[in-house]
Symmetry: C2
Subunit: 212 residues, 2 copies
Amino acid sequence: MQVAIAAFPRMTALDAIGPYEVLQRIPSLDLVFVGEQRGEIRTENGFLGLTVDATYDEVPSPDVVVVPGGVGTRKLLDGGPLVDWTRDTYVGAHFTTSVCTGSLILAAAGLLDGLEATTHWSAMDKLAELGAKPVTRRVIEHLGLRLIIAAGVSSGIDMALRLAELLVDTTAAKATQTLIEYDPEPPFDAGHPSKVDAAVMARVDEYRAVRA
Amino acid sequence: MQVAIAAFPRMTALDAIGPYEVLQRIPSLDLVFVGEQRGEIRTENGFLGLTVDATYDEVPSPDVVVVPGGVGTRKLLDGGPLVDWTRDTYVGAHFTTSVCTGSLILAAAGLLDGLEATTHWSAMDKLAELGAKPVTRRVIEHLGLRLIIAAGVSSGIDMALRLAELLVDTTAAKATQTLIEYDPEPPFDAGHPSKVDAAVMARVDEYRAVRA
């Protein structure tokens, strides 16, 4: 079974690597990073290069599609190869999934019209503009439509474990969770704007003004 | 402040990308992936290429060192550039840290002799062989020794948030946690062998026989 993960300039690395790390442990899954061109792309602020191993044209019918987000999505929303590939592969895929602002790409491809969906907390308005109904939830499943939509960045790990269950079975999901020792102990209860005070949000704004 | 993340063939991607994703959000930190040679390395089962941007020699005095793990560590434990660089950079670094079997590298460099430390649950015996005292805990801090050691794979995210607090302040840590929306909701309580049954561990063994 082929899992295709989209990769593009200024994507958020963890959006992709979270699901990758879960799914690559399962022997029945083959993973490939796909993009507009083969070769290196630089993530987010440029500190990390990832390799695109196949073009969108070369991976026309993956079984699973994962679209990560990141500031780099903004340039892609008006259409182009990623939006086209997301729309085209949806027809035959078992599941089309997104992490973070990857859902904006799915929305731009017309897959989320009128549907409850989620994204990074900072992009809820944009998601609504693109036709979805934004909901604050970590993972949203539309199983009849073969769509799974995760919230910001780290939520892709939670999403991928559920995807492992759907693709294989519950034992597979628990086995991969054990393998990646995903027994989180966040040092703070601070994973969403609803959980932090104004001083933290001021720092969030300060950091966002400089770094993706 | 310079944060250097080691990269080598068959490393576990999430070991590195978890801390990367937290720390790259903080404008006062510059991150660099370092390795034996510049250019691409392939992680784990080969599905993902990451770029090494500088050699160990080119980054002789980083402020923070992050050593990820993965099956690729095994070949490196008898000494060589990564063990030497870990030992040499320790002298001047504010913090030397590891994720997963990255702690085996720190131990091979002599940094963990007689100290409580942790690693991936599957490598506890190896850690003891290398002179440390293995303990099942998600993050172990020896602040006087400027060492922070995380358990398997995903624990690097928890470790890096604590590191953000130590390097900057609590507000910085909470801001980055908010930015990566790290409010985990694992779909199963299965992140460690102590939490799963024999059927899951049989699947773990089956997967490990094929995939890293």
